[in-house]
Symmetry: C2
Subunit: 341 residues, 2 copies
């Protein structure tokens, strides 16, 4: 049976949401795996007491320290060895757990994952991707979304290769399609780095490691032109955060439009209610909590990172993602493909 | 009286839309300026004949060649000297016109503007900015949006300085606010270029050239945290094109939601109509045609660039923008500030 270590202290709504999500995952999956919940006993145990956990595959492990959102990533790993973050990753390292899940400080989790678990042989830099809404079926992932800036062409190519493997084996996409995010479609466009990356991606394509469709532009993302959008972390992080701000921005425009229409008597309460539901429904493709979180690709172990705002549902889905990463042997495939000549 | 040269052949809907917009500008402004419309006589003159232009300050200048969207920027300037693009800019150079307006090939316009007009003394690289929607009052401009990639810190600082001058003198914003688009707010974040840029922007702030509020992130753009968002053209171009694709993406989600609601009988035709109007109204802040186009900042002359999709209304507003740039003496202010010690 798989064992998943869960950071009870990670996230804006921790530990309450984390506990709730963990209990839900075990109940819903009928105890398909075991969870080790790690955190400060005085914070976690009183909340755990509210659930009947006697029938669940749930263990608790005390960790006296907590890595907060304000901790400096590189320092936190060294100064907070007794934190839930470091202890959880150590369980993985010592093979007492198969995967680790946290919605805490992303930078610290990245640093600690690298420090404790190391890189898969052949990986230059591990990376983080994100989910993006798209028209129609399928999946769009953007890589890198902030773990790496000043990426070299070789880094960007590895990101595409690793995400191709994830989408193929982890997400069941038969033919993941890679596009290089650029200022124009023509070859020869963009920065010096992107020009070189273009040719390296072509080469990776000719070796069958990826399916490269060339340069794509900002307006191609939502259209779903590529399932893998490759860019430097500076671009990906900006697009990701910009995208996350859209529902709130439009929600505010929607609210004032609706208030105007109601004040003028053009629509009544019940229509306003239907319209509001419709508006909410429209943003369903923006709901990334259904994926919960993402694995750090390239780390020699499974470390799933979630949004600080994660709800219990997101935590539950992160646990499933961890299970999925173990079962689909994504890391073994990455090691294999990256070390092919 | 000012003379504005207008490229009749520039844009997806040229020359019809350009002619219509030009006539509207002259009628609406009561012949406040003179327009020289430049293009192929066999294409333009038959369309012009549909208007009563005898009372308008409108001249026509024949240009046998046309720079198309497919022309390579650097080549077009040299091989198509008899194009409306090059002839229009030459009118400016020879002081027969005060400004030039085009909705054609942006890259070619940039190259030709540099080639024919040159740079304002002290300017390292001219730039293009774009308008962005924001919550509440005010204005958000992003610079650079694709004219420059691989920007050096000195370039990014000049972009902020030039746009500050434009917003102050051209747009009447008393205190333009500059933010550096980055992956986090803390100083020391981001690429090597951004780290250096941060300190140069601080320095420009201490000299009173700009008002710098530090690093901002992708989610701060729509919130209107800064009136000037500074970034490399690779980031700005991606965000711009991504932003432009949002109304269509959401429109498509809206349409299918509405169809579902109507099919289930939850709303009737007339409510659907009101809801559709409301949805359209919500995207009013995304309407950048009210600004028409933007000037190339840093070019020694006035060259206004518009979107290829420009309507007649956008063309009209571009002509007003050209007039405005001349009257507010934006270029003189740029020369002054950039050459201060």
């Amino acid at each position: 049976m798989l064992t998943i270590a869960v950071d009870a202290m990670g996230g804006d709504n921790a530990p309450a949401c984390v506990i709730e999500g963990t209990v839900q995952a075990l109940q819903e999956s009928d105890n398909r795996f075991e969870v080790v919940l790690i955190g400060q006993s005085d914070k976690v145990e009183p909340l755990l007491a509210a659930y009947d956990i006697s029938s669940l595959n749930l263990k608790f492990l005390h960790a006296p320290e907590v890595v907060t959102m304000d901790d400096i990533p590189a320092t936190a790993v060294k100064t907070k060895q007794q934190s839930s973050l470091v202890k959880g990753l150590q369980l993985c390292k010592e093979k007492q757990a198969d995967a680790f899940v946290s919605a805490g400080n992303t930078g610290a989790q990245m640093a600690a994952s690298l420090f404790v678990l190391g890189r898969i042989p052949g990986v230059l830099r591990p990376t983080i991707y994100a989910y993006f809404p798209r028209l129609g079926e399928g999946l769009t992932n953007i890589v890198d979304v902030g773990a790496n800036v000043d990426c070299k062409p070789e880094n960007l190519v590895q990101f595409a290769e690793m995400l191709t493997i994830y989408q193929r084996y982890g997400a069941g996409i038969e033919k993941p399609v890679t596009g290089l995010l650029n200022i124009g479609e023509e070859e020869g466009k963009g920065s010096e780095t992107l020009k070189q990356t273009y040719w390296l991606l072509k080469e990776a394509d000719s070796k069958g490691k990826i399916n490269f469709i060339g340069n794509i532009e900002g307006h191609d993302i939502l259209k779903g032109k590529a399932s893998i959008v490759v860019c430097d972390g500076l671009v990906g992080n900006t697009i990701l955060k910009f995208g996350e701000s859209i529902p709130e921005f439009l929600g505010s425009l929607f609210k004032s439009s609706l208030e105007q229409l109601m004040a003028s008597g053009r629509i009544d309460q019940s229509t306003a209610k239907i319209t509001s539901e419709m508006f909410k429904g429209m943003f369903e493709p923006f709901d990334v909590e259904k994926f919960g979180g993402v694995p750090f690709l390239g780390v020699d172990g499974i470390s799933i990172v979630g949004h600080g705002r994660s709800s219990s549902r997101a935590i539950k889905n992160m646990i499933y993602m961890a299970e999925h990463m173990v079962e689909k042997r994504v890391n073994a495939h990455i090691a294999e493909v990256l070390n092919e000549k």
